[in-house]
Assembly symmetry: C2
Homo-oligomer: 225 residues x 2
Amino acid sequence: MYAMDTFQYKYQRAATRVTILAHLFGVLAIVLMLVWLLHYRGGLDLDSDNPYLIFNVHPFLMFFGFIFMAGQAMMAYKTVRAGRTEQKLAHAFFHSVALCLGIVGLHAVFKFHDKRNISNLDSLHSWIGITTFSLFCLQWLFGITVFLFPGGSDYARTRASPWHVSGGRALLYMAICTALTGLMEKVTFLGLQHHREARLINFLGFAILIFGITVDISVVLSRYI
Amino acid sequence: MYAMDTFQYKYQRAATRVTILAHLFGVLAIVLMLVWLLHYRGGLDLDSDNPYLIFNVHPFLMFFGFIFMAGQAMMAYKTVRAGRTEQKLAHAFFHSVALCLGIVGLHAVFKFHDKRNISNLDSLHSWIGITTFSLFCLQWLFGITVFLFPGGSDYARTRASPWHVSGGRALLYMAICTALTGLMEKVTFLGLQHHREARLINFLGFAILIFGITVDISVVLSRYI
């Protein structure tokens, strides 16, 4: 009666558009991040003697390495035009890249804290961040075990799928919250509130937020199809 | 083959449990917020001569008045044990309460800024916050017009429903991001990083985050049923 086929077609078109938007805002966030770190913060270098250049690796890798790559993994079922198996492998591959680069990004901030004798894991940002990353590792192990191991039962996969998807989406939002609290902490700590740099960081935060929302909507719309 | 009835029953049970969890964490967040504002920050009073007591109305009303009430509205289809019409009215009622108390909460922070001669809408927190609240107002108007006005067409409602739900969930996460960046800004600005108060605020932030996630999962699971 409600012409469901028309709906499905519209969702499919909407999903494609939202996925393109997600890529635009993701790339915008990477560009704004690099402008911020290279122009205002002196660049990034994990092996530098300057602890601030070591620190700068942290925001870059936690967004580009972790959040952006995990977003690519989440959208792989929409973006990878191949069979289901290839899509699953792309999903696992991007998440594995996110895991590795995320570890390097976390290493950078711990190294910075050590060099500057700052205690670790004090702030709300770090609490949410470390929880998100730990749960991400569990979700990754869970995903590999249930969905990728040959011989996993179809019954277990069907049962686990909604939890895997809901959990992944919750983790995406937790990662976005972590990124935004991190930027907020940095701006306030540096006392930049009325500087041009703060406005750049606000736009960066917004781009990250819209990336998160569009990735999420892309996943939801793809599931309606 | 996969015994979908068993799945549906399990989702229903899981949805009930997650909804209870959402209430527990919501109430925990309200309690922690009140301990923070009353014990550490001198209380809250919109008509005070002390601008800081005026400010304190802002975090309280933006969580208890806006986010918590909007969460109740989102879960009304699960928590209100009555007909569909009563559930819809409860959904609209809670969202209207959230709208009104949110406006008072916003008024409090603008009044504080005026009294202290601080410029408005400079921070990432305020940018995300004002965007979220504006979109919430549009979503409220849209909801009233499409779903509540007698004579709204079923076709329009079926077509608008996924956008209304997805949009609402995205707004919930934006509101959570706003709350967490606000807490992060306050702790860093006050230089509380190593104080006991900061740890209380971290727990408060975590409770707000878990409230948001559980409300969202409750809505998703209810839709799987």
